[in-house]
C-alpha cells in the first residue's frame, strides 16, 4: 500500500553537518527532495522509489525488464513492441 513512485537522482548533498544525505529526485522533470537515509548506497542517476519524502529502494533495472521477459519466455511478446523504451509522457497519464 502507500503511494510510492520511482524518480531519478539528479544530485546528492549532505545536510545538518553531514548527518543526513538528501537527494534531489526528478519525477518527469519535477524535482523533490528525498532523504537517502534508507538507501545510503544510492548514486546520482540511480532511480529510487520515494515514499513520503524518503527513498526506500533503488530500482533494479535488470529486474525491471523481467516483467516483459516473462511474457517473452512464454513466447508471447511480439518483437516489435519495444517495451523497453518509454511512451511519451503526454499520452499515458491520468
Amino acid at each position: 500500500m502507500c503511494l510510492a513512485i520511482p524518480g531519478k537522482i539528479t544530485t546528492i548533498e549532505s545536510k545538518y553537518d553531514g548527518l543526513v544525505q538528501v537527494a534531489k529526485v526528478s519525477f518527469g522533470g519535477i524535482i523533490k527532495e528525498a532523504s537517502l537515509e534508507m538507501v545510503p548506497h544510492a548514486k546520482v542517476d540511480d532511480y529510487v522509489l520515494v515514499h513520503v519524502g524518503v527513498a526506500i529502494s533503488v530500482v533494479d533495472e535488470a529486474e525491471a525488464r523481467q516483467t516483459f521477459k516473462y511474457l517473452e519466455q512464454m513466447g508471447e511478446v511480439a518483437e516489435e513492441l519495444n517495451i523497453h523504451g518509454f511512451l511519451p509522457d503526454q499520452k499515458e497519464y491520468s
Binding site: 502507500c2 522533470g29 523533490k32 499520452k91
Partner: protein, 345 residues
C-alpha cells in the same frame, strides 16, 4: 509581457483600514494607484458606476479570486482575475469588453504587492483587449482576509455566430481540450507550505478570448458548447455536461494532454489531474464533422498549441462520463467530492 509601471511614491508602505474608509486615504490609493494604472475614459468619470453603450444579447459573468499565494510561478492574482472573467465571457460565446474590479485587501498588505497585482490586472486587460470601467476597494482587518481577494465581473456582446447552448450538444460531438491539463492547479500546489517542490511549475493562466473568437468566426454554430474547467477540473465539467444534456461522455485517458512535470507532481501527491483546477484551458464541444478542422485551427491559436480531442458525446451511457484507461479498461468518472487532498496511500 511586463509593462514599465514604476510605483508612485506614497506616504504609506502598508495598507491600513483607513484605505478602505472611503475617505482621503482611499482616494489617494485610488488616485495614484488604480485610476492611474488602469486609466480609460469611462473609469475617469469616477461615478458610482460606469455607463456603457451596449446593444443586443450581452453576456454577464462574475468570479471572485481567492488564490493563495497571490504571486505564483507564472502569474499573480491580478492577471488571474482578469483572465478568469474574460474566459467565462468567452465560454458564453461573447466578446469580452468591460470589467468591474473589486478588491478586498487585508490590513498590512505591502503597498508594493498591491501595485504588482494592479500591474498584473493592467497587463492582462491589455492582452485580452478589455477595459476596467468601474471598481471598488475594501480593506478588512488583519486576519480577516488573505492579502488580496479580487472580484471581477464582465460584460461583452455575444459573438454574432455563437450558438453556445448545452441543449445543442449532440451524440457524436467531439470534445476538444485547448491545452495541457492541471498545469495551473499544480503550479499553485507546488508552492504550498509542506508540499513544495524544488522546481516550479509555471501557471498557464491566460486569456482565451482570442482563440474562442477565431473558433467562432470559423465554425460558428458548429461549436455547440464551451466550458473552462477551472475548479473541479476537466472531470467536473464533463460530468456537468453529461448531467445537463442527459447524454453520455466518453473520455480517452491516453488522449489527455499533460506536461511531464505536471504528471510527475500529480503522481507524487496522489492527485488525479482530471480533478485539478485549470486556468487558461477550455473545452469545446464541436460537431463531429468539423472536429478535426477545428482542432487544426485551434492549434494555431495562442496558448492552444497542445489542443487535443479527448473524447466524444455518446448515447451509450446516459448521464455518465466513462473513461477508457491507458490500458483500455473503462470506469465511471464522477464529480469531485470535497476538496482534493494529497494522498499518501
Amino acid at each position: 509581457m511586463q509593462l514599465q509601471c514604476p510605483m508612485p511614491k506614497l506616504d504609506f508602505e502598508v495598507i491600513t483600514l483607513g484605505h478602505g474608509s472611503g475617505g482621503l486615504l482611499t482616494n489617494r490609493l485610488l488616485d495614484s494607484g488604480v485610476f492611474e494604472v488602469l486609466k480609460n475614459d469611462i473609469l475617469d468619470k469616477r461615478h458610482d458606476g460606469a455607463t456603457l453603450n451596449l446593444s443586443g444579447p450581452t453576456a454577464f459573468t462574475t468570479d471572485s479570486f481567492v488564490i493563495s499565494p497571490i504571486f505564483f510561478p507564472g502569474g499573480n492574482i491580478g492577471e488571474l482575475a482578469v483572465n478568469g472573467t474574460v474566459n467565462d465571457l468567452a465560454m458564453c460565446g461573447a466578446l469580452p469588453e468591460y470589467l468591474s474590479l473589486s478588491f478586498i485587501l487585508e490590513e498590512g498588505l505591502p503597498v508594493k504587492q498591491f501595485w504588482e497585482v494592479l500591474v498584473g490586472v493592467k497587463v492582462a486587460c491589455e492582452l485580452a483587449g478589455v477595459q476596467v470601467v468601474t471598481g471598488d476597494t475594501k480593506v478588512v482587518e488583519k486576519g480577516k482576509g488573505d492579502k488580496v481577494f479580487i472580484n471581477t465581473t464582465g460584460v461583452g456582446r455575444l459573438h454574432p455566430r455563437a450558438q453556445i447552448d448545452v441543449n445543442r450538444v449532440q451524440p457524436g460531438d467531439q470534445i476538444i481540450v485547448s491545452g495541457q491539463l492541471a498545469t495551473h492547479g499544480m503550479a499553485i500546489m507546488s508552492v504550498r507550505e509542506g508540499l513544495e517542490f524544488e522546481t516550479t511549475i509555471e501557471s498557464d493562466s491566460c486569456n482565451l478570448n482570442h482563440a474562442v473568437r477565431a473558433l467562432l468566426d470559423a465554425f460558428g454554430p458548429d461549436i455547440h458548447l464551451l466550458r473552462d474547467p477551472t475548479r473541479g477540473g476537466v472531470a467536473t465539467v464533463l460530468t456537468e455536461i453529461a448531467r445537463d444534456t442527459g447524454l453520455g461522455v466518453n473520455l480517452q485517458q491516453r488522449q489527455l494532454p499533460i506536461d511531464p512535470q505536471v504528471a510527475g507532481a500529480c503522481e507524487m501527491l496522489g492527485l488525479d489531474p482530471l480533478y485539478v483546477a485549470n486556468e487558461g484551458l477550455f473545452i469545446a464541444v464541436v460537431a463531429a464533422e468539423k472536429a478535426d478542422e477545428a482542432l487544426a485551427m485551434m492549434r494555431e491559436q495562442p496558448y492552444c498549441e497542445n489542443a487535443a480531442i479527448i473524447g466524444e458525446v455518446t448515447t451509450d451511457h446516459p448521464r455518465k462520463t466513462v473513461l477508457t484507461s491507458s490500458i483500455g479498461g473503462k470506469r465511471v468518472v464522477n464529480m469531485l467530492t470535497g476538496e482534493q487532498l494529497p494522498r499518501i496511500c
